[in-house]
Every structure is written in C-alpha cells, then in structure tokens.
Symmetry: C2
C-alpha cells in the first residue's frame, strides 16, 4: 500500500475466469471511512503499431463480442503467463498480420481503465517489416487492413477507429514520425 | 448481432455491482464452434484535457486502488445514469479541478479495452477556462497538478503518465495544437 493509498480490510473473490478475475475489496480511505472497490484483475496486453517504409500501418478488423460491434484495431493480444511484453508483441504481429518487424520502439504503456482494472497495455511501434505468414488462432476471425498513417488519424477523428490502444498508438506514432516524441527506450534488435 | 458477429446462445449473470456487471456468455463463432466470453458491462466515462491560455494542462493525482498505485491523470469520471457525456465532462472538470471551460471539442471516444468490456471513454478538450470552486466527492482525495503540455507529453514517454485516457488525450491535444488534427465535431458553447 502506498502511503497515500487505501488499506484493504477484506477481499472477496467473486469470479476467477479465463480472462478476468473479479474481487470486491473493502478498503479504508484516508479520512477513516470504509468503502467498497470492485477490482478486475487482468494479465495485461500488448498492441503494436506496425509501420511500413511508406508510412502506412496495418490494422485488423474483427468482431468484438464485449463491445457488440466490429472494430478496426492495431494488432494486439493478451500476455501469456510469464511472457515478456515485447515477445508478445512480436508473436501477435506475426500471428495476426503475418509480419516480423526488425525495429521496435516502446511508445508507451498504460492502464486501460485504472478506476476498476489493473490491466496494463504495452504499446510498441514495429517497423522494418518482413512478410512471413499470418497464423491466427483457430477461433480468431480477422481481416487485415493496410492504410496511410494520416488516414488512420482521420479515422480516429471520425470515430471509425475507437479503441484506446489504437487511438493512443496512432496519435503517438504520428507525433513520433514528426520527430516531436521521444519514446522512453529505444530497442533496435533483429529477430533471431 | 452484426452479420460478422457471434450469436449469444446463453448469458450467465455472475455479478451486478456499483461499477461493473460481469456476464459469461456462451457464443457461437462463425466457424460453428462454441466459445465463452467474459463481459464486463460499465456505464462509460468521460475525460477532459483542460487547456489554459498558455498551453498548460491540469491533471489530478490520486491513489487508484485497482491499479495499486498513485496516478497522474486528466480529470475524469463515470457517467451518471442518463447523463450526457459533455455534461459529465463539465461536471467533473468543475468538481475535480474547480474550473469551467467555455470552448469544448470532442477529441475522440473509444472502448478502453474491447476484448472484455463495453466501457466507452469520451474524451474532450476544454479551453477558455474560468476558475470556480473545486468540489470533489467526499471520498475523493485529489491533488491538482498544472504543467505545460510539452512536459506532459514527456511524462507519457517516461511512463510517468500511464492511463489510456490521459495518454490518448495528451497525444491528440498535442497534434491538435499543431493544427494537424481535426476533431470530428466542434461545439463552441458558453456555460449557462
């Protein structure tokens, strides 16, 4: 617990699923009051802005059951147990769109919705792409879409691209390409 | 159901809380397989990039129990029942940092994490600020932080600002201020 934080008095486990675990915590607030907090635990996820030499990006279109609609998103996926975020980004990029990237930058990482979940999203920019073979999970149904970064940014403004990792990734990549954004660490590494 | 979508065969209600509702849905995939989907229903939320005449923004620092740490975020809050997103943004801006904004732009809206939740985040840019009186909820403990937009963008790169609405909001506002981003609708309205 942070000194500014809340002490957890009691935790009730409500549900332990494949993707989320749900707890209801009884916490003590700094003013001595008690309150309940609903907490969704999630293993974290990775998204990749895949940028080709012409400044175009690759997106995937898929139906999202929780959202109830088809969305156009950057390639992404959940972290497997023990998997490092960069390894997950490389895996998802190849599985979903069939490319390897030879340059990787860490654009940002963020809680998707810190009011109720600890889900952390690691956002990479992958460039110097080489075509391999897409290999989606058996139960994934994806369509790959290739378009200029400027067009993707317009689609954010028009609400045609509307998920947090894609909006943040397209916006940060746009600033980066204009040399106005310095990602925290630069890792330039070749695929083995 | 979208033609590309999954048919829901059965929905089990696991939990109905103050912030989230959790369902486990049995769905039919396009290939005829059946699968389970864990769905978190959420009423949606609003975040505001509050920009003053010098290009500085206002952030709030608060402990987030689900994240387990103190975060620096743009002012934000959950939609109340029946509340319009813009009204929620105006309310939260005044409650959390004690300002009204006279110019409002819709920067974007997005699903925070469409793999498991329908939570929609409406992101505004509020400018032409006038000081009123902060009025946080009794059980909110906030510290207001005021800093240049460029500094905020650096803090994204350094992972010192790390939640989706703040990262997306700061990145989009940066592009907007450089006249390289056209929000979908512009609503310029005075407070009543």
């Amino acid at each position: 617990m942070s000194p500014e934080g809340f002490g957890t008095i009691e935790r009730k486990t409500i549900f332990e699923g494949q993707v989320v675990r749900l707890y209801v915590d009884r916490v003590e607030l700094p003013n001595g009051h008690e309150a309940e907090r609903e907490v969704i635990e999630h293993s974290g996820a990775v998204g990749v802005v895949a940028l080709d030499q012409n400044g175009w990006i690759y997106l995937v279109k898929q139906y999202r059951h929780a959202a109830g609609e088809e969305l156009l998103e950057i390639p992404a996926g959940k972290l497997s147990s023990g998997e490092k975020p960069l390894d997950c980004g490389k895996r998802e990029l190849e599985e979903e769109i069939g490319f390897q990237a030879f340059d990787w930058l860490e654009l940002a990482s963020f809680y998707t919705s810190p009011g109720f979940t600890n889900e952390m999203l690691y956002l990479y920019l992958g460039s110097k792409l080489r075509k391999t073979q897409a290999n989606p999970d058996e139960d994934e149904f994806l369509e790959v879409v290739h378009l200029p970064m400027g067009k993707a940014l317009e689609m954010v403004a028009k609400n045609e691209i509307k998920d947090s990792k894609s909006v943040a990734g397209i916006a940060l990549a746009t600033i980066y390409l204009k040399h106005q954004y310095q990602p925290r660490k630069t890792r330039r590494m070749a695929e083995k």
